[in-house]
């Protein structure tokens, strides 16, 4: 039953006086908000750590060529943004109880997420091909050359931070897609609130990327060479 009805039924003067849902949100949604807060702390810690070592080291590689890396990551970003939009539509649809539409929109969102994943993995493969590794760079690879030429004193942390942070985000997108899948399948059984909640999670994953993209990608564009 919906939260509003809930409060109705208990007829309490002030939601904070007990017997009601003070934020007018059910447990699951509140729980998701809290989960998002804590998960955001994890990413914050990682990104701050990354910025810290980056600032601390006297040289930091900026190896990403406009093509493919930046083009790819930009397209990925667009897909993720689009998926957020379709998610909004999904929630709208389910709000008006148009379950089929909702299911389709969720499907679209999942596609957006999958596209992101696929592109991201291709992108990873490119970089690994060029010689990027979680620790430093592979011997006599293209990157090894670049490094030796431009960033001889660079710490081997570039790959480390890149793979760990984007990897963790990828994992979130992946679980997000599965999560949406479950919702889409059980849409007739689930409540509207569940769709909203899955939406919350999806937008959060999207938002995180909006920090990762500039910090990890744009800040590492290779301008001159």
């Amino acid at each position: 039953m919906s939260t509003e009805a809930h409060v109705e039924r208990l007829g309490v003067a002030n939601e904070w006086d007990g017997g009601a849902l003070p934020y007018r949100v059910g447990h699951r949604k509140l729980g998701m908000w809290l989960f998002i807060i804590s998960d955001a702390m994890t990413f914050t810690a990682l990104l701050i750590g990354y910025s810290y070592v980056r600032a601390a080291s006297d040289q930091w590689p900026t190896p990403f060529h406009f093509y493919p890396s930046i083009v790819f990551s930009t397209v990925m970003t667009l897909f993720l943004l689009a998926s957020s939009f379709t998610m909004v539509m999904a929630v709208k649809a389910s709000a008006h109880n148009r379950l089929k539409a909702a299911r389709r929109w969720i499907g679209a969102t999942m596609l957006g997420g999958l596209a992101f994943l696929v592109l991201h993995i291709i992108e990873w493969m490119n970089l690994i091909g060029e010689g990027l590794r979680p620790f430093g760079v592979a011997e006599d690879s293209e990157f090894a050359g670049l490094w030796a030429k431009h960033w001889p004193q660079a710490p081997p942390l570039f790959g480390a931070s890149f793979f760990s942070i984007t990897g963790l985000h990828m994992f979130h997108v992946f679980t997000g897609v599965l999560y949406l899948g479950v919702i889409a399948l059980r849409i007739s059984k689930t409540r509207h609130e569940d769709v909203e909640i899955s939406g919350l999670y999806w937008h959060f994953v999207d938002l995180v990327w909006m920090f990762v993209f500039p910090l990890i990608y744009l800040m590492s564009v290779n301008m001159e060479h």
Partner: protein, 642 residues
């Protein structure tokens, strides 16, 4: 997958909630496994947490005694150890690395698996829902998950003790703070106990973080959404406020430790070097070290302490809550300055996030940040002072009943002052220059955490035991347990201040060597300390033995203790309005309605010297719209046992 869990079982909780007010229809689970092992009943889970803590605390206790023995009689042969740890203690003589593994394990187990489980996961789980009139946590399955994940964490950390690390078999030796580079490249540098044991240590911590996150999330939602009618925030028992604040701290600080732990694990296993700078050498140009460069050891310290300081308040806040609760109950007097107590708790929680740097004054961090952290650190003493004064205020003009829980609650206040006060010494950049990493620090945090928080647990245990197990703990044994413990812990930790001032450093496996019968100090400036060291050790042994009385009392009372009435302490809060022990849905179908604050003792003109929260007013002033009949009877039922 947690999501799936959430969606699934919350349906159950919400449905239960939807029926409120009214009778819940869900039958208690049948079958041993579902009832006692993988139970989703917050009461069972609470007890599971308490037992886990109990096991852990005795492991930690034994370790602390072993440490004391090594510090006092280094080089002595303890045959049992020889057989248990052939590498760590060859023919029974504790090796320095073995001592360090004891320190690490003692610290880790005590902080994580005792002080972060029992006060919150144990008592909080059991009594938060009951005290706010809920029939269970918001997410019962998540709750079960948190416990079992914690359990796995414990298993892993215990495995770490026996994990074979190069070159000799001892547990992790990084200290509970696991500072890199030692904790990251110690293995390469051939430091004993930096092998597999260290990995397991990190993994265990990471697992524990996840469990605590889930738990914290659950607590917050429960407290916000499941308060029964009339249970406004300012009518909640201070215990609930404490568990709530603690949950918020946990929710915000554990993720950071989780991240740090992952990075450290990567440094150890995947060859990254987040925390390891370049140019390291072990003196023989070893290759493995060359791959590292660019990392920062200080970064770990920042991440760790950003978690670490809130963690210490996570450890103490529930104790503060229980103390306030119990002091008021046995003082037969309302809590003095309830609002001030609540605000103080939040102030402590909030400030707690901005003082982590006080652990890093001499770490090489910028001296200007040190300055800022120092000011903030001392201002955190203010809310703590407020709480202390309010406890005194609560006792002033009271009619104190000296039950065992009350004795421990008073002990808590005494110990908290004794321990907290030295924080004001350590908090000053200048003074910390000399005090850092000496026994002065140990004295500080053992008094405040090592025992004040533990006293909170004792108080809670003696206080709530009857409700949890339906029988009283023996008051007589309780008092016999209290005295040696109270005297003993002061005997252990007050002298540590003196050692610290003299300059005795932490994490030293011994301070003297025995050369043909003669005790020779390794450091001349410690020449005045041996007497203290022995005194501390004997106090520790006595105190540790005294804990067996508690253990016996605990086990004996579960089976043989005298039966407890529903409200043996003449207390006012909801847990005392229901049956003992509470039925599966806590209130046997009744949904309690709350009419007043939590601590209405010695109300002039009231029939007894206490008024239950559920006793309706004659004046319908703050009664909710439709006063619930039947609950009245319940309130009286509570008093009826007088």
């Amino acid at each position: 997958m947690a999501e799936a869990e959430v969606t699934h079982q919350e349906a159950h909780a919400a449905e239960a909630h939807a029926h409120a007010p009214g009778v819940h229809h869900h039958a208690p689970p049948s079958g041993f496994i579902r009832k006692y092992i993988f139970s989703i009943d917050h009461k069972v889970i609470g007890i599971q947490y308490l037992l886990l803590a109990l096991v852990s605390v005795f492991v930690g206790l034994v370790m602390s005694v072993l440490m004391r023995m090594n510090l006092t009689w280094p080089g002595t042969e303890w045959p049992i150890l020889g057989t248990l740890f052939p590498d760590g203690a060859p023919n029974g003589v504790m090796s320095p690395e073995f001592y360090l593994s004891l320190v690490t394990m003692h610290g880790t187990i005590m902080v994580f698996f005792v002080l972060t489980t029992a006060p919150q996961g144990g008592f909080g789980n059991y009594f938060l829902p009951i005290q706010i009139g809920a029939d269970d946590m918001a997410f019962p399955y998540l709750n079960m998950l948190s416990f079992w994940v914690t359990f796995v964490g414990l298993v892993v950390i215990l495995a770490a003790i026996f994990a074979s690390g190069s070159p000799s078999t001892v547990g992790p030796t990084g200290g509970w703070t696991g500072y890199p580079p030692l904790s990251a490249v110690g293995d390469i540098l051939n430091v004993p106990g930096q092998g597999m044991g260290m990995n397991l240590w990190i993994i265990s911590i990471a697992i524990f973080c996840v469990a605590s996150l889930l738990g914290a999330l659950n607590f917050i939602v429960t407290l916000l959404n499941l308060r029964t009618r009339g249970m406004s925030l300012m009518r909640m028992p201070l215990t609930c406020w404490a568990w709530f604040t603690t949950a918020i701290l946990a929710l915000l600080s554990f993720p950071v430790l989780l991240a740090a732990g992952i990075l450290l694990l990567l440094d150890r296993t995947a060859g990254t070097s987040f925390f390891v700078p370049g140019g390291l050498s072990n003196g023989s140009g070893i290759e493995a070290l060359k791959t590292y460069s660019g990392g920062s050891p200080i970064l770990w310290q920042h991440l760790f302490w950003f978690f670490g300081h809130p963690e210490v308040y996570i450890a103490i806040l529930p104790g503060m809550g229980a103390t306030s609760h119990i002091l008021s109950t046995f003082a037969r007097k309302p809590v003095f300055g309830y609002r001030a107590m609540v605000f103080a708790m939040f102030a402590i929680g909030l400030l707690g996030f901005f003082v982590w740097g006080h652990h890093m004054f001499i770490s090489g961090m910028s001296p200007y940040t040190g300055f800022a952290f120092s000011i903030l650190t001392l201002s955190i003493g203010v809310p703590s002072a407020i709480k202390t004064f309010n406890w005194l205020g609560t006792l002033w003009g009271a009619r104190i009943r000296f039950t065992t829980p009350m004795l421990f609650a008073i002990g808590f206040v005494s110990l908290f002052v004794a321990g907290g006060i030295t924080g004001l010494v350590l908090g000053q950049t200048s003074l910390d220059l000399s005090m850092h990493d000496t026994y002065f620090v140990l004295a500080h945090f053992h008094l405040v955490m090592g025992v004040a928080a533990i006293f909170g647990m004792f108080a809670g245990m003696y206080f709530w035991f009857p409700k949890m197990f339906g029988r009283m703990m023996s008051e007589r044994l309780g008092k016999i347990h209290f005295w040696p413990t109270m005297i003993g812990v002061y005997g252990i930790f007050i002298p540590m201040h003196a050692m610290g001032i003299v300059g005795m450093p932490r994490r030293y496996s011994q301070f003297h060597e025995v050369i043909n019968g003669q005790e020779v100090m390794i450091y001349e400036f410690l020449r005045t300390t041996p007497g203290l060291v022995k005194f501390v050790t004997w106090s520790a042994i006595v105190t540790a033995l005294a804990q067996l009385i508690f253990l016996f009392n605990f086990v004996y009372s579960i089976f043989r203790g005298e039966r407890a009435s529903d409200n043996p302490w003449d207390a006012t809060t909801l847990e005392w309005t229901t049956a003992t022990p509470p039925p599966h849905d806590n209130f046997g179908g009744q949904v309690p309605v709350v009419y007043r604050g939590a601590y209405e003792y010695s109300v002039p003109g009231a029939p007894q010297d206490f008024v239950m929260q559920t006793t309706p007013d004659e004046t319908e002033a703050n009664a909710p719209p439709d006063g619930a009949a039947g609950v009245q009877g319940q309130g009286d039922g509570g008093n009826g046992h007088r």
